[in-house]
């Protein structure tokens, strides 16, 4: 695939991510913060998000496996996940977190478990998509091109 094709593919891919609500305005803001002095800013922030989320999802799984669930602790973790997903623009993950917190408030274990499954799913989707997008960007840069914004 030539450079122009790659760049077109990237633009189309990004557009679809916004269209399907995987990303929102917040992600755009992130990209606007990146410049020549901080060329890897977006990748750094997103990597941090991945690390954070992996950890939080593990904590949530453990917490919900307990005989007697500590909903306060579950809620605190979901709150964090909601915060970080919102900060990078991972809209679908954020939305599930909102529903998740409602179930925590109701102390509804079934509901929480369902949300945990959903949030894992949405997270893994957005993670795959972002990784693919970064890969495309890398290919473009390696081919000597620049990233179309």
């Amino acid at each position: 695939m030539d450079l122009a094709q790659l760049q077109r593919q990237l633009v189309d891919y990004k557009t679809s991510l916004y269209h399907e609500d995987f990303l929102d305005e917040q992600f755009t803001q992130l990209q606007e913060l990146q410049d020549e002095n901080n060329p890897d800013f977006v990748v750094e922030v997103v990597s941090l998000f991945f690390e954070d989320s992996d950890r939080l999802l593990n904590e949530l799984t453990k917490a919900l496996e307990q005989q007697s669930v500590d909903f306060k602790s579950v809620d605190a973790h979901v709150h964090q996940l909601k915060g970080s997903s919102s900060s990078i623009g991972a809209q679908r993950v954020q939305k599930v977190c909102i529903a998740f917190r409602n179930y925590c408030e109701e102390q509804n274990v079934e509901g929480c478990l369902k949300c945990l499954q959903q949030v894992r799913h949405e997270y893994s989707l957005v993670k795959t998509k972002l990784e693919f997008m970064f890969q495309l960007q890398q290919q473009i840069l390696s081919a000597g091109g620049s990233i179309p914004m």
């Binding site: 803001q29 913060l33 922030v45 998000f49 954070d52 709150h79 915060g83 900060s87 990078i88």
Partner: protein
């Protein structure tokens, strides 16, 4: 670390963007948040405005900085933090007589919760995440405040 009394930027009628960035270099900012992602984001946002924020992860660390004599023009304070949360830290700082501008930045959107936070002594409270518009607003307010302080 910034010791002593806050900044005193003189001429505030800056026209060019570069001048704006340069005048902001005199302002000291402290970011207080337990989420490393938010700390990274806010730090970058502020750097774009020519600011060089100090960053800590909980309310107690923020209070400790003031106790040892540091001071900041602007504090961006998260609400939910371990060890000492934003509400406690703000109350503590106000009790200490600190009159820096303290701005709550919280992900809690419920009005009653923002109100509680405001009552602890905040100057303003915003929902996360911080945006360039908010920063512009705060910097304008800060410049106004410094003007007032200088005219006392």
């Amino acid at each position: 670390m910034v010791l002593g009394n806050g900044a005193s930027s003189s001429s505030l009628n800056m026209k060019s963007g570069e001048d704006k960035v340069n005048s902001n270099k005199n302002l000291s900012v402290l970011v207080v948040d337990d989420d490393p992602l938010i700390r990274m984001l806010h730090d970058m946002h502020l750097k774009k405005f020519g600011l060089n924020p100090q960053v800590v992860e909980d309310g107690k660390k923020a209070v400790d900085l003031f106790r040892i004599g540091a001071s900041f023009d602007l504090i961006l304070m998260d609400k939910e933090m371990p060890v000492m949360n934003g509400v406690e830290a703000t109350k503590e700082l106000r009790d200490m007589g600190i009159n820096s501008m303290i701005v709550g930045v919280t992900s809690r959107g419920l009005e009653i919760e923002m109100q509680d936070f405001m009552e602890s002594g905040l100057d303003f409270c915003f929902e996360k995440p911080l945006t360039p518009d908010m920063i512009t607003f705060l910097l304008n307010e800060l410049n106004k405040k410094n003007d007032d302080d200088n005219n006392d």
